[in-house]
Amino acid sequence: ADALKTHPGPYSGGLAPTPEEFVTGYNNFYEFGMEKDDPVSHSGDFHPLPWTLEISGMVKKPQRLDVGALLKSSDIEERIYRMRCVEAWSMVIPWDGIPLAKLLQAAEPESGAKYVAFESVVRPSEMPGQSSAFSGISWPYVEGLRLDEAMNPLTLLAVGIYGESLPNQNGAPIRLVVPWKYGFKGIKSIQRIRLLDRQPPTTWNRLAPSEYGFYANVNPQVDHPRWSQASERVIGSKTLFGTKRQPTLMFNGYGEQVADLYRGMNLHDNF
């Protein structure tokens, strides 16, 4: 990982980051395997650069973004966010990236655009999990947001963590971070972003629609069918008996910034 020129952005205060070894050694990235340590051990053959991120669909000015150049720019800001996994564990991660809104504005969305679809990379030769018979996932991994969610100032395209470019296992070279949603919304190694007038399919929703919704907002009142979402194990204790559990916050603690997006919506139905 290369050092980045970052400057502190908003929403960074007050949170103590999880030790880096856990953030880079404990990952869900099924492209590299299904166990938490598969991504760190099986992503060595992945070549994140050179990389072009395409922004297309219902935009006036389609973009082709050179991610290698972005990594050298001085636009990158640091955001320290809570990360809540749908599996009921959480971390605090210092991301380095740029607000997604900035890129979308440059592409000038057409007035009919309502949703943003994200598509990850397919490289079975570099990503062993993509040729595995298990998991049942059809590649590429796809995700989506409503356009207003994508334009929210919290929504980040991350290119680094801890002041350095993203390690392969964390979604190099560029990934999505939506801190008020469960971690699986944070699609990794993004190749294409398209603006659409309808809701795009999303990988986990396709796989188990009763368990993973399109919105996937962190919500302690809406349980996963197999476990409670009311509280979460805090990653970062060094010992078995020292592990802490803490209450899960509505919208992962970002209600002030995002609750308005969902005013009047039934969040039990739109989980």
């Binding site: 299904m34 938490k36 564990w89 409670s228 009311a230 194990r233 078995l240 559990r245």
Partner: protein, 198 residues
Amino acid sequence: MRRYWSVVLYPLGLLPAVWLVLQGQNGDLGADPVNVFERSLGLWAFRFLLICLALAPIQRLIGFNLLRFRRLTGLLAFFYAVLHLAAYVVLDLQFDVRIFWRDLTHRPFIILGMVALAFLLPLALTSNRFSMKRLKRSWKRLHRFVYGAAVLAGIHFFLSFKTLNGTSALYLSLLALVLLARAPMIWSGFRRKGARQP
């Protein structure tokens, strides 16, 4: 003879639990040690249950008397299932009774695991000579609960993963194999039971 085996094998069966605790306290279970601990204990329970069920078919295959290890492996399965539950309540939920109660009343995944353990409880309590003598033929019938426990534990194990994966596929195949190998025994057991009916 049996006693000498026990002196060695019971402590040996407890080694995985001791090893997991040591690893956990040493920081060797990774970023989410409670999750690994909890899952490993459950997997050991399932492993001992599978071994217990495999003893009779294997004995027929190799001719070596293995049935004497049924009590040992059965009790170890029960012991690990209890530790598995304890890890879930104490280390994972940290005694959050509200969540525990909701899990017990709302989640098939948890309920299946609890019923599997409930099936094992009377078997563990009657795994002694005294009970065998007292219960006579009922003892054998009672101990057919082990099939219920194994099948429910298998489904519970399968549900503990987000998707089908290699580990669950392997253990479910082993369960199917063991049950298939025991099919003649299961069949004749039920036929005998049927024959007794008037």
